[in-house]
Symmetry: C2
Subunit: 224 residues, 2 copies
């Protein structure tokens, strides 16, 4: 494997056990002969996220790795990594919500890339979305394309970052799951709720609201 | 500070206590009003590296931070991070020596960038050199430029990565130190030796040989 060769048979999926990355996992399972999932443990309030991720991959018989990213806590004293700060109830009007760790996606994808190269894998799959970027600059397409180039230069290796959700909104993420035949798995087994409740969630946190709104969009667009 | 503003008064220097990054530290001290150094602890065989780095910054009264990067060990079982593998006595003819952790510079610079942004600093200084790249693709200019763009996109912020040693060889790194008035500090206080001996080093490892050859080049070019 070198700078001129892409391995189209295997992929590493950046996986959190949430709706988006689980949809991406099913997407990847249709396209690749072998899929490996990588999760990041950065001291989330909700270790349940990793537990969910493990359950989903166990059921699918997919290789699952957890990388310790606790060092993120050195950098970003914030609400997703420390228990003593409250998550914003509502996303602020402008900019990223206070739960953001600057460059977090970039760090995750870079670690995933190092991991992939060691296994001769060139393709990374991530659930980032520009439609849903909510103020996170490292979810934008222009960033992902730039990172693909930088990673390839950094390691002299042909990385391809696949982003199946880049241009679709939450309603169409549910549609994609439906098309992939995993709608019920996504509904029941994934965790997006800030309060750590699987499936439908608490129903009140911003993440649950977004998830429900997306599902309603899906029903409205495709099930009427 | 935003995507359109550069802070030219302060810089973060990626600092190891070795010859190159110490020369860069002196370079930065001439150009910026405030300089902060960042080192990475990734389980080096030689904690002395960090000790040297601390001594140098203490003497200069420069802010010094160590980030725990022990998670690199999860990714790269190799000779600079594990005690049970020998370092190559000689650099291999082709490719990177076995001490390389793929994308290590990229990870270090990315963490340094997150750290810098939190302090409103845009400029990062690193001692990487294309002349001296020895098979490490993430020391090349094309990589650094690409990373500068990717980091800026990732965090929606104007990063500038300064690389004072990019185009000069070891002989001219000594010349630069001489011009900066820090030749003796570099000779006596920095550590590059694989066997952890400060200053002149063991004299036998590949790193000591390179350092000595560079110094001889310097004498030959500028002191005859």
């Amino acid at each position: 494997m070198n700078m001129n060769t892409r391995n189209k048979k295997e992929a590493v999926v950046v996986f959190s056990g949430g709706q988006d990355s689980t949809t991406c996992l099913f997407w990847a399972l249709k396209r690749y002969e072998k899929v490996i999932t990588v999760s990041f443990d950065y001291g989330q309030r909700h270790k349940k996220e990793l537990q969910c991720a493990k359950e989903i991959t166990d059921e699918l018989g997919v290789e699952f790795h957890v990388m310790d990213m606790s060092l993120l806590n050195q950098l970003a004293p914030n609400s997703l990594t420390r228990g003593d700060i409250d998550v914003d109830e509502e996303a602020p009007e402008e900019g990223a919500p206070n739960s953001v760790v600057d460059g977090r996606n970039m760090l995750f994808l870079t670690f995933a890339a190092v991991f992939a190269k060691q296994r001769g894998i060139t393709d990374l799959v991530t659930g980032v979305s520009q439609s849903d970027f909510s103020g996170y600059p490292d979810c934008r397409n222009v960033f992902v394309k730039s990172l693909e180039t930088t990673l390839s230069l950094a390691m002299d290796y042909t990385f391809c970052i696949e982003t199946p959700l880049m241009w679709i909104d939450k309603g169409d993420v549910w549609k994609l799951a439906d098309d992939l035949g995993c709608l019920n798995t996504i509904r029941e087994k994934t965790l997006t709720c800030y309060n750590g409740i699987k499936g439908e969630g608490c129903g009140n946190c911003p993440s649950c609201k977004l998830r429900r709104e997306g599902y309603e969009q899906f029903l409205e667009r495709y099930r009427r």
